[in-house]
Symmetry: C2
Amino acid sequence: MTDDLIARRARLMGPNVPTFYRNPVHIVRGEGVWLWDASGKRYLDCYNNVPHVGHCHPRVVQAMCAQAATLNTHTRYLHDLVLDYIERLTGTLGHGISQAIMTCTGSEANDIALRMAQAVTGKRGIIATDNTYHGNTAAVSVLSTRRPPIGGYPGHVRLVPAPDSVRPVGGTLDGQATAFATNVARAIEELEAAGHGFSGMMLCPTFANEGLPDLPPGFLDPTVAVIRRAGGLLIADEVQPGFGRCGSHLWGHDRMGFAPDVVTIGKPMANGHPVAAVLARPDVMSAFREAFGYFNTFGGNPVSAAACLAVLDVLRDEGLVENAQSVGAYALDRMRALRHPWLVQARGTGLFFGVEFVTDKGEPATEFVSELVERMVARGFILNKIGRHGNTLKIRPPMPFSRENADSVADALGQVLAETPMTP
Amino acid sequence: MTDDLIARRARLMGPNVPTFYRNPVHIVRGEGVWLWDASGKRYLDCYNNVPHVGHCHPRVVQAMCAQAATLNTHTRYLHDLVLDYIERLTGTLGHGISQAIMTCTGSEANDIALRMAQAVTGKRGIIATDNTYHGNTAAVSVLSTRRPPIGGYPGHVRLVPAPDSVRPVGGTLDGQATAFATNVARAIEELEAAGHGFSGMMLCPTFANEGLPDLPPGFLDPTVAVIRRAGGLLIADEVQPGFGRCGSHLWGHDRMGFAPDVVTIGKPMANGHPVAAVLARPDVMSAFREAFGYFNTFGGNPVSAAACLAVLDVLRDEGLVENAQSVGAYALDRMRALRHPWLVQARGTGLFFGVEFVTDKGEPATEFVSELVERMVARGFILNKIGRHGNTLKIRPPMPFSRENADSVADALGQVLAETPMTP
């Protein structure tokens, strides 16, 4: 049956359509932190951030269905719900950010954010890290492509070395914040020298795709100063850290202690319903709205808004941000207590963890981590790997993850670590 | 209350966020072809194509809710529904088009389609008409922008004069097909001379945003020949004509009698749930999948697929394509029977109509048509205007539109035409 599905996928979706795992899983049901495959096997979901408040949360499903049965239309007519949502959401943000454009995907949100930076500065040059992902539109994907786009890499993009808590930029952990900022300053000079000018920098406040390095609050202060001096915008891509994932704060940029000009959000926002947004200060929004026309047919429709509001309700009523902090701290202790000769760092923030492995020759243990992932999936734990070399386990469960869940994944990981051959 | 909502929108969404009508409507409920505003006033929806099978169709709502309560996840796991949908959908297409990428918006679909043309040809030059709209991403919006983007209009885009059944390209209706193709050939030469090369042309088979001109099947044959000779791809943007809107055919390109290389679909696909897709032949899909990485988190999730499948079920079980043909023909007869000194053409295809007005001085009756729209809305008929000068009424109701509905909008239009002052 699985082989049949894989053959159908190739026939109907074409080549190179990514699946996870050596033997892709065929998931048919979800509830809370649990997933079931077609054979009835149950998995603890230690990976998915889209079902933020838990798979198929009944309050979100109910809110979405009630609104879908009442009205689903677009923002060219007036409606309360989208305004209620933007008001409530921006109320959590501070930094003068009080306006939003609703979209359907984080990619669309980041695609707009790049144009906001262009509108404010009149320039096009943009900086990101060299091991990131900000989305799949033509404009945004050039920030993360591994393959040269048709026509070549565009000149207005500069990528700086991503921060890393095992192999730090500049060689030392103490000097990394300054070294990172120095590279950003150099990239700005290059963009200006090439005539593109500098419009801004887009970054994930937790550098999630970069490998979730263990960075102290304030790490970005020198970089923020460089960006401000050059007159560029700081765009915080909160698609992964946002909505309380980090436990200590609702937003990753507050945890890191900086004030972004633009915030983009997505995946967890409506628990799987396709919705995302760009949040900005009124001066930034005005500049965008004056320089570019923009309307999104599905963006901010009443059903999406209802689902978004329900997620905020559940986060509050079930204390899920506090849960991410307390269970997250407990789970991180458990992972830090794991012992293995190649385990160099267990790190995390809230309910987002990375466990990195390096061989005794000092090389990334990429194959070893792949094997760990496969064995964990076989045991019924959905997780994956992360970072430049794929040598870091990525654990990022739905927010209702419990201490008991944390114990079971840590116990299983301990056993799998003991059993897995140390082939690099 | 409406004033309050308008003020809240400005505060929370910023300036230049479009609404329809002088006094924007505050819609709170929808059912079938009907909408209700907050005061309880009922409107006949003669405009919205997103609620394709009727507002809040219970079968679509039910399918979406049942799946949302069971599982909503992404295509990195295997699932039947997305494959069932692609199989069923591509089964309606022919022309060797048998594969799809699922996205969340038509903009995302067109953004991919442009890259497909690049991947197949290795070139970037792209052609569209000079009065169109294909979406809101940075890459796609340059095909339709009225304002120069930051950095100026990109050199790889050429816009050719849009076909028109009142003021034909080249001066005569008989010569328009050839004149249109000649302009496309010239644009290809320009792109090649400028070093961009020619990757393809993107067009709506009904030229809906261009004003829905009355063009005979075969109109595009000379253009298709020019595109084929130059080795470019023909991308049919079926976001408006697709899913049986034209009545005689499920797809606009079949009605016009040409074989596209890529088809993009969107708005009506899941009756308002945010979903869209790019459909292509395997050779085109392979070229894209080899040249570009692409994954869309929400694209093709089981809830979207369930909603999409339900729309196909309803279209079939309620005979809505046949309804579009028969009611469409009846409604077009009613509109053609309208008499007014400035009414120059009532045209249409299936349940999509344009009624164009030109003053006795030969100028587009833009203000007059605006006034007609406002008066129709005041009488409880939701419709709008279309085309380069906004002098054409746009009527494009949900597909369950009945003869009785057609009579009531035609009757109302007759009365409003008689009452509205002929101020240009």
